[in-house]
Symmetry: D2
Subunit: 305 residues, 4 copies
Amino acid sequence: MPRIAYFGPSGTFTEMALAQLESTGIFDGPVERVAAPSQGAAIELVRAGETAGAVVPIESSVEGSIAPTLDALAVGPRLQILAETDLDVAFTIVGRPGVALDEVRRIAAYPVAAAQVRMWLAANVPLAEMYTSASNAAAAEDVAAGHADAAVSTALAGERLGLATLAHGVADVDRAITRFVLVATPQPAPPRTGTDRTSIVLELANEPGSLMRAFAEFATRGIDLTRIESRPTRTGMGTYRFYLDCVGHIEDTAVAEALKALHRTAARIRYLGSWPATSATGTPPPPDAPAAAWLADLKKGVADL
Amino acid sequence: MPRIAYFGPSGTFTEMALAQLESTGIFDGPVERVAAPSQGAAIELVRAGETAGAVVPIESSVEGSIAPTLDALAVGPRLQILAETDLDVAFTIVGRPGVALDEVRRIAAYPVAAAQVRMWLAANVPLAEMYTSASNAAAAEDVAAGHADAAVSTALAGERLGLATLAHGVADVDRAITRFVLVATPQPAPPRTGTDRTSIVLELANEPGSLMRAFAEFATRGIDLTRIESRPTRTGMGTYRFYLDCVGHIEDTAVAEALKALHRTAARIRYLGSWPATSATGTPPPPDAPAAAWLADLKKGVADL
Amino acid sequence: MPRIAYFGPSGTFTEMALAQLESTGIFDGPVERVAAPSQGAAIELVRAGETAGAVVPIESSVEGSIAPTLDALAVGPRLQILAETDLDVAFTIVGRPGVALDEVRRIAAYPVAAAQVRMWLAANVPLAEMYTSASNAAAAEDVAAGHADAAVSTALAGERLGLATLAHGVADVDRAITRFVLVATPQPAPPRTGTDRTSIVLELANEPGSLMRAFAEFATRGIDLTRIESRPTRTGMGTYRFYLDCVGHIEDTAVAEALKALHRTAARIRYLGSWPATSATGTPPPPDAPAAAWLADLKKGVADL
Amino acid sequence: MPRIAYFGPSGTFTEMALAQLESTGIFDGPVERVAAPSQGAAIELVRAGETAGAVVPIESSVEGSIAPTLDALAVGPRLQILAETDLDVAFTIVGRPGVALDEVRRIAAYPVAAAQVRMWLAANVPLAEMYTSASNAAAAEDVAAGHADAAVSTALAGERLGLATLAHGVADVDRAITRFVLVATPQPAPPRTGTDRTSIVLELANEPGSLMRAFAEFATRGIDLTRIESRPTRTGMGTYRFYLDCVGHIEDTAVAEALKALHRTAARIRYLGSWPATSATGTPPPPDAPAAAWLADLKKGVADL
């Protein structure tokens, strides 16, 4: 039974994302879930050979890219992303059995979660005082321990502790979606499906034009970039690090050519993998077959071209 | 006395950044500090005319761009950034007067802060149990109220409550710097200094090539981009929103020409201001004067050119 | 009365082009025509102050660019093109008065002209033998002197010598058009008309990418290149010289900005002038006014932009 | 014995270029030389199956590209260039045996040649009157027939007619070199040598940007363009035709990728062949092997990349 690390503790959204990945059959059977205290720690378990993979959040529709995950992938031995899954990060309000929502007088919450449901709490439990918990999962435990009547938590944490669900899908912002990825050691990418995503980390000299030249490698080949994130490398060398996602797979000729070109011209390139996208966004790279057939005919000396 | 909003509560790093800006003399005298519960709320106070400005974090060397700030600036009536200031976000350990560090048995911390000093705590107060507080400022208040012996907090919060400083500059990562900006209503930019920063928000059609063409406007003019952040607009129109910083000022001809070009070709452009950078990074845009003099001579018909 | 040099001798197509320019009123009255033995010699008369201008062919729809003219403009003191005119270079068959076309037994022609009407001669005067003349004008003179019955020449040459016109518009290729330009010393360009042409000579380092960067200066500004010619400079320095025409006038902001940018980045740029095009081809550069107004408002701090 | 057409008549520089190609052994034995009256006519003999190849001038260091050759290659069934050879086009002064240079009183010349040696004649045979001949070869024949004492001609023409060489290497411009190519029906290109030339004809929509995009296909791949010529297609469709030469061979991966990309994006592309260059000019395309090895390792899942 493979061990898979996740950004814990038990009951986090990341564990729910891991469960969602398990349900797709990607692991060929049950896995042992190993909680890690941070995104970086989960990723280090893979590098140390302690787990066969790690599930970590990589991008949130509200908060943007998850910088600690990106940095942990960019630095240290190369790892590879094998799959992604998207999760609605709406919260579940779990309560002591028998207590109705309008009877809640004290509500436990992780401060980060409390900030994301402030308006909902003001409208629905205006009289409740806040009790500060150490994580979303700990908030549910604080209810089980009698410190509060209800908690801002996850469905998974509530279920485990036998708490009642008072409300679900709770979020001040509609459709707060987080994308999670499954990270493993380098290996052949999953087969091309036609709606794939490829991710790289690029380091460029900090000169006007180096960036345009890098993007030209994608644009001239008709490759659609769907995520671009730039951060200084802080190595004091005046370089920037770019986290780029594009539509396509390393087995798409256009993508392979762009990777080769960047390998030749960029200060540094790291390939983070090609995997099936959860939804088809952007324009797939152009097919290579017609032009390749024409080229082959040219090389043979076929006349009518 | 102008009222300036900040991402509170009192004692946050953002308030320290506001204090740092006050010390530069930018406000021509004392200001009334107005705490707001979020970056967005601070910015809305400016839009509502309640305050003359707002100080908010925009970028962290550890966490990357602060998405809520960027989003609040991109959507709603246009505002303008007038100044920036950088802050080391290392924490201060404040304690009950008379208690030495090795006597601390219970330490209060905001969970986000606790995660950033985990290694330091394990090395320095290995026996202390954690007490969860609702913010960095609240952690100091929890010490003052007797719930804990010490707190992971800020120097400002400790001073206000008469607590002792047990350690300062505490952070697991060296040099965790956060950049804060002063936001106000649209107005003429502060005068060009030669080491300036200009910031825009750009929305581009999601087509291969539209991005390269946008970057070409900067690269062909020798303008150095120092921050690039991309996020989907989620308006269902297939557009991406880019947050771009470049070296230079709207009064630099190269920057002015690039802005005009993007106004003509991009789906949408919003100018967020030009202001003095705290440190000179990147290459300034090329001077316009020699080429402009040559062009003027051409128009006059001067012979030897 | 201004003296204007032309690529002679008297009776050439270039003299006809000069006559056509005179009829447009560009010279404000009659001119003294000065024949020169080559394109370069005509241009040198302007540089020497001997004539106020020179008319030379620059481009032929059959032969392409006229290299000696381009080279003479690229090297030596700068000159400026003030006007262009297009001429159908079809030949006129002129004959001894009283001789019909089917009675022609000997026909004089400049060999270059003979090559361009070979098929016409084979079809219309199949029995005539060829008599070689030193120029198109000399062919008509050879008829007047009794060396031949008819000549492949120009209408102008035939008229001057009192010869009969046996056929006109004679050419094996339909619509062989040559463009002629009026060259003078540097001076302010003729006013912008909205359908103008601007011409430059550019020298670029022979590196992959220097060319793309130069063209990017036009493309990013929406400027349409209508002629591109490249030749080695043969200075042994590995540079290439480009002769570029674009749609637009030096008073078009986009064109002015591109010129300034090339002045900054190219190894060498020479401006050859802006003048009214004889016909509207290509896309005019985009207007500057809307973007300039927006920029001015940004600088003033106008709110709703 | 293969028949090879050339731009005649006998004694032209083109025949000398054909002789030079024969001496390289490219034909595996003697050939039958077939004079054609024009570049286009020589090329049509290949298309008609009358000859196995044709030798035509394509570029002159003085006159630039030879437009009739380029046009004949661009239109009609595709042909392929197999080889090139460069020729100093300096003239030979051939004379009646026994006549010294200072005794020449009448000199025969093709007018185009006369224009290229005007200064030399003025300095060396100032008293001689000109006799107009129909071609360089005909000028030598005019000497043999007694019409003149000497001729501006070629060494080959003089030899054939038993004339004396009075001077050779005669040209007003130093090093006037013409490049000739051997054209045949489509066939596999000669093997890659490392200093090769590839030639294409490209038709592009007349839009700002289409040209930059086409050049980007070369620049982003590090391919050096060594000849660029643009002419309107005159098909009334607003397209331009570009004649491009680059350093490299269709078997260079970078060149093959650029060809495929242009096949996908250009209005029309015609491949004119890859062949050994007579001299190494420009930068060869970058080697593909290192990047290809890296890509292959990525696909296999090799760890340390």
